[in-house]
């Protein structure tokens, strides 16, 4: 399960936010204790196709783990992972 504390063997994940009234990329990283299987299960729940909605001036998120990156809808994040995503969102910094 995911814990907010970094431990040996933890996986590094990165939340990237794009889009907006002026297009800005923001990112935040965290090390979380999550197995590849748990991550796959999480991504299955939260992945989405941003091109399908194209909200005018909307923001979009993607989650990077290792070399793979997946567009995600963070509103669909299950309760058990909400604290992690909430922390990541609060730590988003502009990518210069």
């Amino acid at each position: 399960m995911v814990r907010s504390k970094s431990i040996t063997g933890a996986m590094k994940i990165k939340l990237i936010r794009t889009g907006g009234f002026i297009p800005i990329t923001k990112a935040a990283e965290a090390e979380v204790e999550i197995t590849a299987r748990e991550l796959a299960g999480l991504l299955e729940i939260i992945q989405h196709d941003p091109a399908a909605s194209r909200i005018k001036d909307g923001n979009y998120y993607e989650l990077t783990a290792g070399s793979s990156s997946t567009p995600v809808d963070i509103e669909k994040v299950p309760d058990e992972y909400k604290a992690i995503f909430s922390k990541l969102k609060s730590e988003l910094k502009i990518v210069k």
Partner: protein, 345 residues
Amino acid sequence: MLTKLMESGNKKIADLAINSNFRSFRFRNDRIFFQQSSLHEKTILGLIAKQTGKETMQMEVYDCKQKTDFTTAALLWDTKTNQKLTSVAGKNVIKGGKASWDFYWQLFGRNSVDNKGLLLKQYVHFDKGMDNAYWDGRRMVYGDGDGSVFTSFTSDIDVIGHELTHGVTENEANLDYENQSGAMNESFSDIFGIMIKQRYNNQDVKKSNWLIGEKVMIGPKYALRSMKAPGTAYINHPELGDDPQPATMDKYQNLPDTSSGDWGGVHINSGIPNFAFYVAAFNMGGYAWEKAGRIWYAVLTDNNLAQNAKFADVKNLTIVHAEKQFGNNSPEVKAVKQGWSEAKV
């Protein structure tokens, strides 16, 4: 059958048949004409009455309380009860929403974003420190800003007008949100957003600084966009660097059609048609909404504006509508041509 009757030896029957055929021909052609007429043309012809006087705007303002769930947002204000407000963001969106609604109603007889009196729903204090505003197809949503680069996205009327105009565009040409058509979608929002602000502040083309979101962005030297000089809204910003907007077509940026590529640079390349509008409006003089605004509105509501329209298509339509409204070789037509020419489209 009708043809046979028209050729009838009985004059009375033949006359009736010819009359009937003529009426049928006129009806068919009238129907085709009116089907092909734009909203603007219908308004000019009096087919849609230009509403005056009676207030019909319907608006609701909700407080998201820094959460992202619309279902838990609290109603702050609505037109029916007109509650007293303390929320600055709430007051801002009421002011901006009303200025936008009035603009479309009083100038074009347009009743709300869908021209059918759609209830305007505005949500403030969305998410924690969200540095953005957007239109999601049903509502306008505003964040409070991160407090360091951006303040509340409700701070500028042009931003509110911009979002509301996305709703208008969606109900009219519904321009595809990618590449040139997407940049036009953004440009229409900036163009009407700035005119809504100019009209609210009673600014003519010379008095206006043509900046979008100058209060939203923290710092006196910064704004979100400049229509007068795209690419100069912020320079050497400690966090954002330089404004990436081009002003001319030779600087058009080919970006990927992805969210990280800004859907092909819709907020970047919009600088080009924005600049064309600025030059056209400035050369016409007076208030931008009186002439240039009418031309661009006629284009936005023209059935000939395709969903995937490119800058050149919009250029051609603005010339057509300038000629229709002001006559061939009029100063207004020249101003429109000059605008696109300076933008190198």
